[in-house]
Amino acid sequence: MRMAAKTELILGPVPFHWPAETLRDFYFRIADEAPVDVVYLGEVVCHKRAPFFAPQLDEVAARLKAAGRRVVFSTLAEVMLPAERRLVEAMCAMDEIVEANDVSALSHLAGRPHHIGPYMNVYNEDTLRFLAGKGAAHFSLPAELPAGALRALGAAAPALGVSLDVQVFGRVPLALSARCYHARLTGRTKDSCQYACEADPDGLALETLEGTRFLAINGIQTLSHSCLNLAAEIAELKEMGITGLRLSPHSCDMVAVAEIFRAVADGALGPGEAEDRLAALDPPGPFANGFFHGRPGCIRTMAGEGAPA
């Protein structure tokens, strides 16, 4: 039997527009206190936000590295405008490990080791193999993949010499658009947005006409209102060959979130206890895990409960 690699805890990029000082303090605290192995930095949602944090990026990366974390730089998920293309090109030109979140970045990264982000459509072993051949060493898989597909990808990864992670905590990215919904809400456009998205550190909840909290908007991105929680599925993920657990940052105490997931991954904490502790941290929405079980992503189901293959 193959020895399972140590499960790594990964902090994904912050998808929201947090003030630069908040972001810096957040990462300093992660460096000092959080039991995460890898930290992804960089603006993935809107190129207009990137300049605010750019002056502090080097300092934050250095602090994280000094604290023993691996640092990876994530590229934009949607690339069309000249400014977006320049941002991706500049990031790919750095002497760092870069995570591609759009095929645009691949043209810059092919031939050298890089990561593939969750916004890239890697749904199957053929895509995995092709991208591995271009230098992809690590993949963060799309949130909507069900367990059966994750298992098949986990089986294919070792022979390709690549590692895999999946998101286990946080609101799930569901859609991207060319239009900024925060700007639209305030009667502005993407060009004249005045950074309306900064008001919502976890995204802005949309409710249905009957008052059910449903989705969250974040600039051009739409996220789930619910909060993904795969604490109960970690044992299965490990057994499938998924070696990374990705936490997507929120304004709640992410150090505490990381400690809980570290303890579950180490077998020191049961999923039930983990859920109680996570719920006490004021996560951004009710817990959900439907995608993993091949069910609607919005639902919460107990592992193995009526899940189609």
């Binding site: 949607e78 690339v79 069309m80 293309r85 991706v88 759009d102 095929v103 645009s104 691949l106 043209s107 810059h108 459509n121 890697v122 749904y123 199957n124 072993e125 053929d126 895509t127 995995l128 193999r129 092709f130 991208l131 909507e144 069900p146 059966g148 597909a149 098949a152 990808l153 799930v172 569901l174 859609a175 991207l176 658009s177 060319a178 239009r179 919904y181 639209r184 809400l185 456009t189 993407k190 060009d191 802005l204 909840a205 949309l206 409710e207 249905t208 006409l209 008052g211 059910t212 449903f214 989705l215 908007i217 739409t222 439907g290 995608f291 091949g294 069910r295 609607p296 992503g297 919005c298």
Partner: protein, 337 residues
């Protein structure tokens, strides 16, 4: 009009059934696009699409009349299930299909390696919107044409045309979703069926209409209310990205993403042709034969009139748009964003 010489664009039309395909060809389509009766294409709806035998007959019908047939194999196979997509590629290539429209990198790689002479188009579902992304698919898989995401202005399309080594196909008419194609899991979040993997958006089997005592109509997808219509108001099909929602601090519910409008670029046809668009695409494989006949004939007439230096008569198209409301979407300019 001046003596400007416009290049004749290819009119690419939808065919949800063999009958629609014949209708589109007879109405003047230069090419029709269609898919098989399974998850390998992005309009995997009950009662729609082609068996292999139907496709073979349809190709013969179209080719006899000088029209092309394009096969959409433009979804993303989940790991462990790629055989169905490879079979679709093999069948299409075996029939001498004029092009296969692909989105998934693994599927594109298979098609390019197994059938190196098969012409490939890059589906809008691949979401390639930059010269770098489009160039990647051209270099790696020999893609000959990109179907552009509906997020660029005409000026941006013109700029893009100068920077990519392949043809451009652009949507000109039909239903438009607000989300970037190939990157939307909203339907799966609510229904458990994936747009990318299963080829469905807002599946009819999970759509519900509820009428109250005052005859107000509430529309739902899965368990979530998408919109509500007063008695007598025309109710739209519930699609998450066209629904109305509440947010904190705003008194009225609003269309958070987009109004329920249809794309109609008929007035921009000359601009698109000047921008270097090779093919004009009409959405609507789920539409009736009557709709296909009307829209294809109207665009045929409009394109031919433009090429002859005349003015196209296109007002009849407005009656066919969703809720009789139309938009030029992103194509009109940057304020749409």
């Amino acid at each position: 009009m001046s003596a400007e010489k416009l290049t004749r664009p290819e009119l690419v039309c939808p065919a949800g059934t063999p009958a629609s395909l014949r209708t589109a060809v007879d109405a003047g389509a230069d090419a029709v696009y269609c898919g098989f009766q399974n998850a390998t294409n992005a309009r995997n709806f009950p009662g729609l699409n082609f068996t292999p035998a139907e496709l073979e007959a349809a190709i013969a019908y179209a080719h006899e009349r000088g029209a092309k047939v394009l096969l959409a194999v433009n979804t993303f196979p989940p790991a462990g299930q790629t055989a169905l997509w490879k079979e679709a590629i093999d069948i299409g290539a075996g029939f001498g299909i004029d092009a296969i429209i692909v989105a998934d990198i693994g599927v594109a790689d298979y098609a390019a390696r197994r059938h190196p002479d098969q012409r490939l188009h890059l589906s809008v579902q691949a979401g390639a919107a930059s010269p770098e992304a489009i160039g990647f698919y051209c270099d790696e898989f020999g893609v000959k044409r990109v179907v552009l995401p509906r997020m660029l202005t005409v000026a941006e399309i013109s700029g893009l045309h100068q920077q990519i080594p392949c043809e451009i196909e652009a949507f000109v008419f039909g239903n438009i979703g607000m989300m970037a194609e190939g990157r939307c899991s909203l339907t799966n979040y609510v229904t458990g069926l994936s747009t990318n993997m299963d080829g469905v958006c807002s599946p009819a089997g999970q759509v519900h209409y509820e009428e109250d005592a005052q005859k107000n109509l509430t529309t739902r997808l899965g368990g979530f209310v998408v919109d509500r219509f007063a008695c007598g108001e025309s109710a739209g099909y519930p699609t998450i990205c066209k629904g109305r929602y509440h947010v904190a601090g705003r008194a009225e519910a609003y269309h958070a993403f987009e109004e329920p409008v249809s794309l109609n670029l008929s007035a921009l046809l000359p601009d698109l042709m000047r921008a270097g668009v090779t093919a004009l695409k009409i959405e609507g494989r789920q539409r009736s034969r009557a709709y296909v006949r009307s829209v294809v004939a109207a665009f045929r007439q409009a394109v031919d009139a433009l090429l002859a230096g005349g003015d196209p008569q296109i007002s009849s198209l407005l009656a066919l748009t969703e809720g009789h409301r139309e938009t030029q979407g992103a194509f009109q300019g940057k304020t749409w964003r």
